[in-house]
């Protein structure tokens, strides 16, 4: 007996669908018993479910209510109290039915089909167990910027041992290069150096500088990371950072740390507060004269130092690899001109301990500028560079403008902007005082910066005065947009993390799981996730520490076995599945192939290409999906089946509902974990049962949450279309649409297009 529980959701469903009619209808169905209630997620609703499971000894349950994205967890826990927690199926009759179908009769019919599909699938649900695996309590933090540092301190406070791997010669990241920090204008180092010291001194934190993670294997709770440490050519155990070597080193080259605003020797430390506080020889600039070796009393120089590779076993990983600035050289911004600098370079000029000891001197001649001009949104909100807003530039430009104006009241400071985005506590006030100080805010997007000898002519349209202007400036500061750092971008391949269209790393859910990734035990913090101010980096870091503490709190973690399984009798060990699995979750060494439950991410891509059908994904088995199709089409043969990946397509469909868009009731969504889970059989079968069309709603290309599921789906769809053409069914009735989880309108458009095609 299958119990169907239908929710009115107050008027949210009840107002659009005849709920009592549904209940009556399903009560007539053999082997089904239906109930309705006002709020199924409420205690009353949950009690009803629990009571009925027990009283009627239900085999499985169908929950017909809002999207599983909302209360899926609640229902799973509730059902799990009385029977196996996976023996239920969702019928999303709110977002994907009630809210997109204005006609109540049509909505009711659609709800019937959705619920019927869920019932048919529910008939095949089986118990799915859990297993326990041990965890390592150590944590790996990649990136030692403010986010990484704060997370490491929080975690060590909670008793975890932290390995911090930092690419540069010192930890600290971008923040420790600043002068002051908005919105409080306190000095960056005053905040930063105690943190640096805390991290350096903390016995529970091991710092690996000049190091990079090159590979991550293993599974949640026990990841094995390979780290390569570049040679420092200075023995870290001996160097006392006396600086004797630096003083004597004959080499002078542009300093990377100072962003070429200053010079350094070949042997140097980037700043006085560097952690670890050790000198370093930068090999490309070193001329091997031997001076440092001679002057170094500690005998720390090691010309023959070599890269070292080692492995770290950790239970969880934090990715805090931060940002870079978009490179605007040789664009209309002419960053290559000496007197066009980035905001970050300005920070180096402003730092009292920096190359100019805090003086604003223009690079071409070392003179103090008279006309300083800030260009906002340089490389942001611009289709030629980054479409997104970098969020912090309005504030950091205003910060520096204010500081400079305060010290140089005579200086003419102009700031050209599209809009000022100063949302945040105290931010608007911060901006207000800037204007009061006499900084000129000119609303207009800079179209071009034209070099004029050592000066620059900035072309901009003053949109208040409605007139084009050409402003002469002797120093231009670009408020350059943020992009994910190279390290952040590399994480996609090294750990298989997923990024968004903006190339920043994507959390599993922007709203409700903002620091979690699809890989259990791997978290993201700070600007590797998106441009944000320090304050938010700290919030992220705290949250990550808390998530990890929860994840690693017990010696073992429980893993739900909603994984793929291989039937060893049928498997021919062809290797196709293993080749398809980007998580190395299929063990191929023994006599039988085996799915490693802890590594399997349940995308189902493996099972799609298995020639024999030996491998299948729990909760979304081939038969379960087929039966769901049957159930839907038995209710409404004219349906168009929309296989929607749970990461994007499904969410987009939900959002369309939230926006109360109108979608034809013919469209019936079938949830799949990944578009790569949809087999050829699934694509063709609906037609056999009379469906009018089939489409896949998948993530945007390059943004599949399982790396390449949507690309695999694309290939399959192309072939299935051909076969439909051969059979005379018509390949045009099968399509794939890419959309991000936020693109409700794209789902609506896809649905509309399908209805047009499949008339």
């Amino acid at each position: 007996m299958i119990g169907v529980f239908i929710c009115f959701c107050g008027n949210n469903i009840g107002g659009y669908v005849h709920v009592p009619e549904l209940t009556e209808y399903f009560n007539k169905k053999e082997g089904v018993i239906a109930f309705d209630t006002m709020f199924l997620c409420s205690e009353i609703g949950q009690n009803l479910i629990k009571e009925k499971i027990e009283e009627l000894n239900l085999d499985s349950v169908v929950i017909a209510s809002c999207s599983p994205k909302h209360h899926g967890g609640i229902f799973q826990a509730c059902i799990g109290e009385k029977m196996n927690q996976f023996k239920w199926e969702f019928a999303n009759i709110r977002e994907q039915c009630a809210w997109v179908t204005p006609n109540k009769e049509e909505a009711t019919e659609k709800a019937k089909a959705i619920i019927n599909g869920a019932i048919e699938k529910a008939k095949l649900l089986t118990d799915i167990g859990t297993t326990k695996v041990s965890v390592t309590k150590d944590v790996l933090i990649i990136g030692g910027g403010i986010a990484g540092m704060h997370a490491s301190l929080e975690l060590s406070d909670k008793g975890f041992h932290v390995n911090m791997v930092e690419k540069k010669e010192t930890i600290g990241g971008n923040m420790v290069r600043f002068d002051r920090i908005f919105p409080t204008d306190d000095c960056a180092m005053c905040t930063g150096s105690p943190l640096l010291a805390d991290v350096a001194m903390n016995p529970l934190i091991d710092i690996f500088s000049l190091s990079e993670v090159t590979e991550v294997k293993g599974r949640a709770g026990e990841y094995i990371a390979t780290v390569v440490k570049k040679p420092r050519y200075v023995d870290e155990t001996k160097c006392t950072a006396c600086g004797e070597c630096t003083t004597h080193c004959p080499v002078e080259v542009w300093s990377e740390w100072d962003l070429e605003m200053g010079l350094r020797a070949a042997i140097y430390k980037p700043m006085a507060q560097a952690v670890p506080l050790k000198n370093r020889i930068e090999r490309d600039s070193c001329i091997r004269c031997g001076t440092c070796e001679n002057v170094c009393k500690a005998g720390a120089i090691m010309y023959d130092d070599e890269p070292r590779e080692f492995k770290l076993t950790v239970g969880a990983i934090v990715v805090a690899t931060g940002y870079d600035l978009v490179d605007l050289s040789n664009t209309e911004y002419h960053l290559e001109h000496p007197n066009v600098i980035t905001g970050l370079q300005l920070e180096r000029l402003k730092v009292p301990s920096g190359p100019t000891e805090g003086e604003i001197l223009r690079p071409s001649d070392g003179k103090k500028p008279k006309h300083l001009l800030f260009v906002q949104c340089a490389g942001s909100r611009d289709r030629r560079h980054n479409v997104y807003c970098s969020k912090i530039c309005c504030m950091y430009a205003t910060k520096n403008a204010r500081l400079i104006k305060a010290e140089n009241p005579e200086m003419d400071i102009t700031l050209c902007y599209i809009d000022m985005r100063t949302a945040g506590r105290g931010y608007e006030e911060f901006f207000d005082t800037a204007r009061e100080m006499g900084i000129k805010y000119l609303r207009g997007n800079v179209s071009e910066i034209v070099p004029d000898g050592e000066d620059l002519i900035v072309r901009v349209e003053d949109t208040f005065a409605n007139e084009p202007k050409a402003i002469k400036a002797d120093l231009v500061v670009l408020s350059t947009g943020l992009i994910p750092s190279q390290g952040t971008r590399d994480m996609g391949t090294i750990i298989h993390l997923v990024s968004g269209a903006d190339n920043f790393l994507a959390p599993v859910h922007v709203k409700i799981a903002p620091v979690d990734t699809a890989n259990k035990g791997i978290y993201i913090a700070g600007t590797s996730e998106s441009p944000k101010p320090i304050q938010e980096c700290i919030t992220d870091a705290g949250m990550v520490a808390s998530r990890i503490a929860t994840f690693l709190k017990d010696p073992e973690i429980e893993i739900e076995l909603v994984t793929s399984k291989i039937n060893p009798e049928v498997c021919i060990k062809c290797g196709t599945c293993a080749d398809n699995c980007v998580y190395d979750a299929i063990e191929t060494t023994g006599e039988f192939y085996k799915v490693l439950d802890v590594s399997c991410q349940s995308c189902g891509k493996c099972s799609v290409t298995c020639p024999t059908g030996a491998i299948d994904l729990s909760l979304y088995t081939e038969d379960q999906i087929t039966r769901q199709i049957d159930g839907i089409l038995a209710s409404d043969r004219d349906s168009i089946i929309a296989f929607s990946c749970y990461q994007c397509g499904y969410n987009a469909a939900d959002l369309a509902g939230t926006a109360k868009a109108k979608i034809s009731p013919k469209i019936k969504v079938i949830r799949v974990p990944c578009s790569g889970r949809v087999t050829m059989q699934h694509m063709l079968y609906p037609f056999y049962k009379g469906a009018k069309g089939v489409f896949l709603a998948a993530c945007l290309e390059g943004q599949c949450h399982y790396i390449d599921g949507n690309l695999q789906a694309k290939e399959k769809v192309a072939l299935a279309k051909k076969s439909l053409d051969i059979m005379g069914v018509g390949g045009h009735k099968l399509n794939l649409f890419n959309m991000s989880s936020a693109e409700g309108p794209k789902f609506v458009a896809a649905a509309k297009r399908m209805v047009e095609i499949c008339q």
């Binding site: 291989i566 060893p568 009798e569 049928v570 062809c574 020639p611 059908g613 037609f687 051969i726």
Partner: protein
């Protein structure tokens, strides 16, 4: 590893998913319907038909699952509902003859492999063009896979559509499956491309390919087209044979996309190894499906044994012909299917009411109850299909529909009433609760062959083995099981009595049933015990020529061949002579599987045949280890006595029975 060594191993971690086909009706999916076993079946029954109808029942329950997620059977069904588009381009068409290219283009797209099986059809048409024919090409699907996998209603729909296109035409067909279907199932006028080329006898220009030929079952054992392809290939290429060919050809082991698993994969691998051993570079076949399945190993990414077979390539027969005629290049890169966009059609789902009785006719009922469950077929079957298991399960379906033979029903009733097959009233229990062993004589020894009963009990006594026949024992249920009846009641009753002590059987049928269908019992055959204590028996010379008949339920079922022979040979003076076929190949007595009761003529004929051979070989006596075999053989023996092995021992010891 040779194919014959491929035995099913017990997979250590069987997951939730079942082996394809291991569901209610035996392992129907595991039969490749290849007919390899047909020649070994003593009753010559039409296994394919039984398998097909059994699959119908399974298909109705959604239990038939083809490989590749069953997409090909689905495509076949869809083909019957829409209009297949032409996919061959660059050929000359006309209306001299009709050519049917098969489904290769669908395979090329749906397989998701970089393949060009369509090339075979293209080569065929180019060859026809070269030979002066401009064929009308009729596209579609012959429905072989849905037919053979039991989707018979869907097949009827498809057949009707295809008939509209093909009726009254003379058709040239390349693929073996299409040929068989059109010729024998549709009843159309077809000629195979193999024979067509043979008749045309063209001049070939490029003959350098080193080939060997794989007989597709549908051309070979189904239609006995063996010579045509060989004759053509011998002229068109550098041809050589493999080890197992023609009637004995090993099949690709996947038919109707069923039965693709690690065992059938081993058969395919072995076939390719054979091809390689022949010295050929190209394994040529005349069936797209054979090509696909044999070629499959080349798409494996991980197996060492597969890599070793990279250099034996698969070619279609027509491709070789096209190549030899100089009109087709099988080695080019581009594909030979050219798929036009179709305007499409909205499909009306089929209104099918599944009802197996539509397909049950007298012939099927005859076939279904002919099998003696001797397992001879399983022995030769490359995938070790459990045919007798299938028969038992299929009979169960028929019996549930009330279609079981009257005789079987009578026996079932008798057992229900009296606890024995013969409806005898007298209880023959010999209680001795202290005894270490229980003797389980079974119905035949108790009520029809008391010679066996007496010999067994006496020898047990002589060996000082205490035994009893407890009160309340009933028939083991062997006949119930074989004839598709429920034996759970019997199991319950007997288990209760037998569960604590070792049980000695003198009947192979009882032995097999108690051992396989019961749980937790300690079952011995009397010969196990005799063998162990043989030196305690005062055996004297018996100057006789003796033949040993292997009971199926001891021999093929358990590989129990040697102990009885060793015992016989211990008797001084005995000359043990053999049947032509013995042990694994032994022919059954003909009585098993309820055949003696329901099809007595068949049972008698088979026994007679066996006894005639014994007579020809000059045997003085036929010895066996199963009273039921002895009963049937004895009933059909005019001159030669058929006795139990224990009776032979009694004779040797000079003990009066």
């Amino acid at each position: 590893m040779s194919v014959d060594k491929i035995k099913k191993t017990e997979a250590k971690e069987v997951t939730e998913t079942k082996l394809q086909g291991s569901c209610e009706i035996g392992d129907t999916a595991e039969c490749a319907t290849c007919k390899l076993c047909a020649s070994t079946c003593p009753t010559e029954l039409n296994l394919e038909k039984v398998v097909r109808i059994a699959r119908y029942i399974k298909d109705e329950k959604g239990e038939i699952k083809g490989s590749h997620r069953d997409v090909f059977r689905l495509a076949s069904k869809l083909s019957g509902m829409a209009e297949t588009q032409g996919w061959l381009k660059g050929v000359e068409e006309g209306n001299d003859i009709v050519y049917f290219p098969g489904c290769a283009a669908l395979f090329d797209t749906l397989l998701q492999r970089d393949t060009n099986y369509s090339g075979n059809a293209k080569a065929a048409v180019l060859s026809l063009n070269k030979l002066g024919f401009k064929p009308e090409i009729v596209y579609g699907c012959c429905g072989h896979d849905i037919y053979f996998s039991g989707a018979l209603d869907e097949f009827e729909v498809l057949k009707e559509e295809m008939m509209k296109k093909l009726k009254g035409k003379k058709i040239v067909v390349s693929c073996a499956e299409g040929y068989h279907m059109f010729k024998n199932i549709y009843g159309l006028d077809v000629v195979s491309f193999l024979e067509f080329v043979q008749q045309q006898n063209p001049e070939f220009v490029k003959k350098d390919l080193k080939t060997t030929y794989h007989d597709p079952c549908r051309y070979g054992r189904y239609n006995e087209i063996y010579d045509a392809p060989r004759e053509v290939l011998a002229k068109a290429s550098d041809f050589r044979e493999m080890e197992n060919v023609r009637e004995d050809a090993i099949c690709c082991s996947v038919s109707a996309w069923l039965n693709c698993n690690r065992y059938s994969r081993d058969v395919r691998r072995a076939r390719l190894e054979e091809a390689k051993a022949s010295g050929a570079e190209y394994l040529v076949t005349a069936c797209t499906k054979c090509s696909i399945h044999l070629d499959c190993i080349h798409f494996e990414l991980d197996n060492e044994d597969a890599k070793a077979l990279d250099d034996i390539k698969i070619l279609g027969f027509d491709q070789v012909v096209g190549y030899a005629l100089g009109v087709y290049d099988p080695f080019k890169e581009e594909k030979d299917y050219d798929i036009p966009e179709s305007a499409g059609k909205f499909l009306e789902p089929l209104e099918i009411k599944k009802d197996v009785t539509k397909y049950i006719d007298d012939d099927l009922l005859e076939q279904a109850f002919l099998c003696t469950t001797c397992k001879n077929c399983t022995e030769v079957c490359k995938t070790h299909h459990d045919t007798s298991g299938l028969m038992e399960e299929f009979r169960k379906e028929l019996v549930n529909m009330g279609l079981g033979p009257e005789k079987h029903e009578k026996i079932a009733k008798a057992i229900a009433k009296t606890g024995n097959v013969f409806a005898e009233k007298e209880s023959k229990s010999k209680p001795n609760p202290k005894a270490k062993y229980i003797y389980y004589p079974g119905c035949v020894a108790l009520y029809r062959r008391d010679d066996v009963f007496n010999a067994t009990t006496k020898i047990l006594d002589m060996l000082g083995i205490e035994w009893e026949i407890p009160e309340g024992l009933v028939c083991c249920g062997s006949v119930m099981k074989r004839t598709g009846h429920d034996l759970s009641e019997l199991i319950k009753k007997n288990t209760e009595i037998l569960k604590d002590r070792p049980v000695v059987c003198s009947c192979s049928g009882c032995y097999a049933t108690l051992k396989k269908d019961y749980e937790g019992l300690n079952i011995l055959h009397i010969t196990d015990i005799v063998k162990e204590h043989i030196e305690k028996l005062p055996l004297k010379a018996v100057k006789k020529k003796v033949m040993y008949h292997d009971p199926c339920h001891l021999g093929r079922k358990f590989g129990y061949y040697d102990i009885p022979r060793e015992i016989i040979e211990t008797v001084p003076g005995i000359e043990l002579i053999t049947f032509d076929k013995e042990k694994e190949q032994a022919q059954c007595c003909g009585a098993g599987g309820g055949v003696k009761s329901a099809k007595p003529d068949m049972a008698n004929n088979l026994a007679k045949k066996k006894m005639e051979e014994a007579q020809e070989k000059g045997a003085d006596m036929v010895v066996s280890a199963c009273p039921f075999c002895e009963l049937n053989l004895g009933d059909n023996s005019d001159h030669i006595p058929v006795v139990d092995i224990l009776n032979l021992l009694m004779e040797s010891m000079g003990v009066e029975e």
